[in-house]
Amino acid sequence: MVEFQILLPAILNGLTTGAVYALIALGLTLIYGVLHIINFAHGSLLMLAMYAVFFLHAGLGIDPYLALPVVVPGFFALGYLLQRGVIARASHGRDENILLVTLGVSIVIENLARYFWRSDTRTIETPYSFETVDLGVAFIAVPKVVAFAGALLVTLALWWVMSRTDLGRAIRALAKERQGARLVGIDVDHIFAMSFGIGTACVAAAACLLLPSFYVSPGVGHTFVLIAFTVVVLGGMGSFAGALIGGLIIGVTESLCGLYLGESLGQIGIFLIFIAILLFRPTGLLGHRA
């Protein structure tokens, strides 16, 4: 039995990572819920946002957290245009074509990154990168605490938008019944693009929260997107609360598996949970029957 003093910090660390996973998964689950597609470009958009944060810091000296008000709207616009200008236009509304288009988009983004910025792993250093907070039972790095709080705040904001605004109502209507939504006068193309934009904005927020403690490289998106898929399935496709809970569970699982099984086998726990959930409860913890 591992001592409590080791176990507790591992769990707390897992929770902070899990919150960021949840944030990335939130964008994915929103796009899946509305458009009914698995967005393959999600990971590369995350990578792009991380580079944006990196260069804002390296070039202009902007702190990653202060970059939030710039990067998030910027990526919202990028996502909106991407859906409206490329994905909708190229896919003719057919699911397998949407899949191919998002795959194509991710290939383009990733390889342009590889061309312009090389495959180097880059990190940034902030004054607080190595600071820790004493939570009484364990020391946790400051960036991780901020990421945890930030991810929760963004989730809360998103929940507010979805449940309290006209935009949120339109998105939910579209997710439930495409034809009906069109009949009552919802601009379907616009709302699709808005959903994609919000999903991309989530990823941008995650990038700002991640960078003080994580590296960026052209392939970094893969690490997160597979886990984000897992979180989405675990929580139930299209469910926000599910994505949050799923993210936290996955974060803790990864942390504990790493502790018990070692680094290289650590991630296997995530995928075993993933497979088990898909097999025994494919609607996820909080999902509705499809």
Partner: protein
Amino acid sequence: MRRQLLAIVAFLAAMALVPHLVGSEFWRNWVMMALFYALLGQAWNILGGYGGQFSFGHAAFFGTGAYCSAILHVHYGVNPWIALPAAGMAAGLVGAFIGFLSFRYGLRGSYFALVTLAFAEVLRILANTVPITGKGVGLLIPLDPGAANMQFADRTGYFYLILAFVGLALLLTLWLEHSRFGARLVAVRENEDAARALGVDVFRTKLAAITLSGALAGLGGSYYAQLFLYLDPGIAYGPAISVEALLVPIVGGMGTLFGPLLGSFALHGVSELAKLAFGEAAGLDLALYGVLLVLMVMFMPNGLFGMGRTTLARLLGGGRDA
């Protein structure tokens, strides 16, 4: 059926001439790799195109075939020709296992796609940790040229081997199109509930399809191992192979006999074009490949085969809109 069989024979005969007629080593290799991806695409096509079950993890089968053949050869001294059917069977078994678990619980659509993705990922992590695969360092197959070892000093042998595999896959698909099993599979794709109501055993049909598809992809893996004589977990179980396996038939035309072949040559041509355009600039060629992929989908939403058929029908004055 006779016309299709004739087309297959004509295609194989034309391909068989390539090593003799094409002087440049580069283009012979190009055709060979296009055939290799056509084999993977044809494997995917059986499950995805005819059965309507989209797999995002065909690397699970490809990698298992590759590792099975390499491990038997390197660690147990088994002749690659004997390891070949074993590799196919092992990959088929992995297919049956994944299929049994996921179809039993009625996973469809995106859920099935994600579970295949997850299985490939689990196998990649396992291959990275167990010693028999050589872990992350990879597995080197000792060079020992000779047809008896499935290693051909001049590449012509490899060419005919992959051509034979592609021929096998084409004939298998042709049989599928005209067999009761194929009819059941297409019925499942079109409407699972209706098929069940008509007395089709949906579970067993899908299970047979994924096993067959996996075995075919496993043969591809075995071929890959003998051709490049090196394997690592990223090559064998990484997402690149899974993506190629599904791009090829979707671009070419899903659920058609010649779609994967068409798609493979087209995609391979596009990627070669992109390489020619940008030469050494690493990354730019693949970026252009991505752009061309999006454009292809934009302007040929029914796949190359679908477009060919519509154009042909229009030219012949049939006026039938697809």
